[in-house]
Symmetry: C2
Subunit: 116 residues, 2 copies
Amino acid sequence: MPVDLTPSQALGLWHEVTLQQVHEDGRDLTLRQLAILLEIYLVPPPHTVRGLAARLGVTKPVITRALDTMGEQGLVTRMRDERDRRNVVIKRTVDGALYLERLGDLIIAGGRKLAP
Amino acid sequence: MPVDLTPSQALGLWHEVTLQQVHEDGRDLTLRQLAILLEIYLVPPPHTVRGLAARLGVTKPVITRALDTMGEQGLVTRMRDERDRRNVVIKRTVDGALYLERLGDLIIAGGRKLAP
DNA sequence: GACGAACGATACGGTAGCGTAACGACAGCC
DNA sequence: GGCTGTCGTTACGCTACCGTATCGTTCGTC
């Protein structure tokens, strides 16, 4: 069930949601950070630093830094993989799920608001 | 003609588009910068620094800085208002229009790709 | 002409991101 | 046990953004 949008609707939706985000998001995530967060929550685990780096096409330090920041904000957690202690497994958190739920609501509301 | 999305579709759309953006956008605009750009191109002129600041709920230096950066990248231009030389009028550019057109395509493609 | 208000820009100190390069910890294999 | 390769992290120098406060210019009014 694909979603078909006109160019005007597509940009209008982005406009509305971005505006709301800027207005009320005290967190101010980077585009990259948001992409990482969505990847973690929408794609089945496990997630590793290396995997995320490859998926986003960025270097590993970018992932480490983003996880540091988002970890401090409680959006994600890291745990060492006990089966292979070189790996780090990235875990979801309740706060992270709530944050994305809120973003989803924003997007849905933005879509409803289009071209009145 | 509003657009109705399920929570899964909403976040899926954001996921897809954000991922693409991170992959291929060499410009790496901030969330605020993108909001400003969309505001300038989707809302009828004239646009002023003060007006944009009020609309986004941020301070004026934020707008000035964003216009500096996006100006260097050719996405917007500034001109003094000759009728009231205290004001600065923000103008659109061809490059800016192309950039947003490209973003629109990305969003539309993302929507089509949902839930295969 | 002088004064107050409005506008956008700038200065300042601080914070957080970036890319490149190097690092320590660990696993697998000989 | 020692080598090699793979993890994720850290170090370094740099750039860009942040908020607050202040500045110079211009307008409107007296």
